[in-house]
Amino acid sequence: MTSTATRALVTPEAPSRRLRGTRRAHEGSRAEAVTAWTFLAPFLVLFALFTGIPAVFALSASLTDMTARDIRDPFGVNFTGFEAFFKIIGNPGFQSAFLNTVMFVVLCVPLSMGLGFALALMLNSAIRRLRTFFRAAAYVPVITNIVAAAVIWQYAFSITGPVNNSLGALGLPQPNWLGDPGWAITTVVMMGVWRTAGTCMILFLAGLQAVPEEIYEAASTDGAGRWRTLWSITLPLLRPTTLLVTVLQTVSFLNIFEEPYLLTKGGPLGSTKSIALWVYEQFGFGNISASMAGSVLLLLLVGIVAIVQFRMLRPKH
């Protein structure tokens, strides 16, 4: 939206002594603004109803001592300032959920992006036959229903499940995938990577296809080898895509919920409990202010991380 349009909206009664041409132009942009706002209206209404109002509620509730016992009289609660925030920051359960979440991000983001990038490179140049098939196959986990997938993973990785049976048949050790803290984290990370690598692949593939062929031709004329081309041409030109994928993946893994919730319920010994899962549990326990404070902190975390990433990976002019 241009600033003229804003002014036109704010001051509809334009001063009368104006040149005709300017006035007409003004009216034109005003009509444009009305059209724009009309088109935006459905989104704004939905946004206000389902994001804005709940966000205000969450923020407000996080500043009180609200519990499920107050819901018939939501205003009959005490304003406690940032007490809920200090309380949860000092809560060992929240601290461990925070560390687990950081760990999921640190492990899952590079792994899923690496895998996605490798798949994209292969599909872009190496694989010629059945390209569509492989592309679809790599994307299937993204569109698979997460609940159905988790049930299968849970079955496959149970101590007596097919994965361990196969390992046993090969004479390999059979870890307790879901019952041992270290292995449970591994399983959740594997599922997270499995489920999101396809998205990374599609985005990288789009980025790769936007790189002009001539540049590669020029590079090859200059005698650049495969790795040199990858390092000096492909990666720098993919910078905007990489930025986008990094931010999307980081945000999605900061909010990780389904994988641990469905696979391990956050266990064993709380080793896979993420912040989102902790927030969900607190809400279930009726600790509304604690759970809202947790989600506000999570939102802040997501915002800060996204801004930092945008700054770090901003295109260099």
Binding site: R72, G76, N78, I159, N176, L178, L269, G284, F285, G286
Partner: protein, 437 residues
Amino acid sequence: MHITPSRSRRAVLLGAALVASSALLLAGCGRSGDSGAAGSGGGAKIDDKPAKGTVEIWTQGADGAKLPDMFTEFKKDNPDVTINMTQVPEAEFISKMTAAITAGTVPDLIYSFTESQSALLATGGFEPVPDGLVKPDDFFPVIWENSVVDDVAYGVPWYAYADMTIYRKDLAAKAGVEAPTDWASMRTFGEKLKASGVEYPLALYVNYDAYTARQLLTFAKQNGGGFISDDQKTWTINSKENVEALEYWSGLIKDGLASPDGPAFLDTVSWSTTGKNAAIIDGGPWFIGWFDDANGKGWADQNLSLAVAPTGPNGDTATTVGGGSWFVPKDSKNKDAAWKFARFMSTPQSQVKWYQIFHNMPALKAAWDDPAMKGDRVLETVKAGLETGVNLPKVATWNQVGDVIGQQIEKVVRGNTSAKDALDEAQKQAESIGTGK
């Protein structure tokens, strides 16, 4: 992304607006003294005239599917009533109900399982049972009392169940063991089965959540312990009796008589069918039907034996029980008809009828005298268990405290934490969580 000055100014404005509106919302806040449960006694008396109007019922769990059969029965004497039923997924029931109470868009009647009643009642969104609607003494006390808060009853009991020991006849015969009757014989029972080749003789509930805590509570009660004082005000989680119970329970796992990793609830039947387990300790009566579903009709009769829960070292009895009761929300638009349906469901005829339809057992003692309820070993075992049923702590924070206890139990089983340290920690956390009063 480059933030232009005007955009960032707008962002600041938006933030300011959010804070201002929050402040406005909060300005009206402040607790108004002690807003406890509604006063004594029930609401208006419910007459015997036929029910009228529309009744909106929310159900949860599998029970809802067959409920319309009972609506048909109810309509025979109440032709002018219309019943609409909505099935709500069990896992979402509390949050959905909580939201409905907040918004005032409640149904006229719901039923709630014993585990979630305290949390629901804590919202203050339900009507007391009207005076004279039903007689409290007609029901098993363990179910009736579960929905009594500060001497006010809120729920009309619908059905009840009691857990039991369910074990494989053939495997027990092979190992030369009889049904366990107390803690000592349960251990020998497990050891002999283990010696005869069963990998994990006993199935315990090892999800380490509030249900695991509930199982520990039953063992604690068998040892004269308990999680909360009789007035429901003080947590007593780390008492000596409870520590001993946890040592016994976790000892079964540490000595390889039970697995720390399973069965999870839904694969209980498969673990016992394949002979990986030989006995379900503290198993619900529904498992018997599930064995038939999985292995063919008559399998359970042929292969399974049942026994009441074992007694503790000093002969104390305790059994895990559960069930469901009917509740009428305060904002219900047709309380009269809702209570009439709840009353109808608690008559001996309806209680027996529902058992025949769905195999849920009567919460009404008199219904057990019906000839239809005689000569069935499952029923007899359940009835014996109901007499020694254990109540969960009746506080709004039980689910959270139960979860804490479950987590601490896991530390004993999987880690090197002692039972004493684990329950000390659970007690500490429970005290900081409180009882929600």
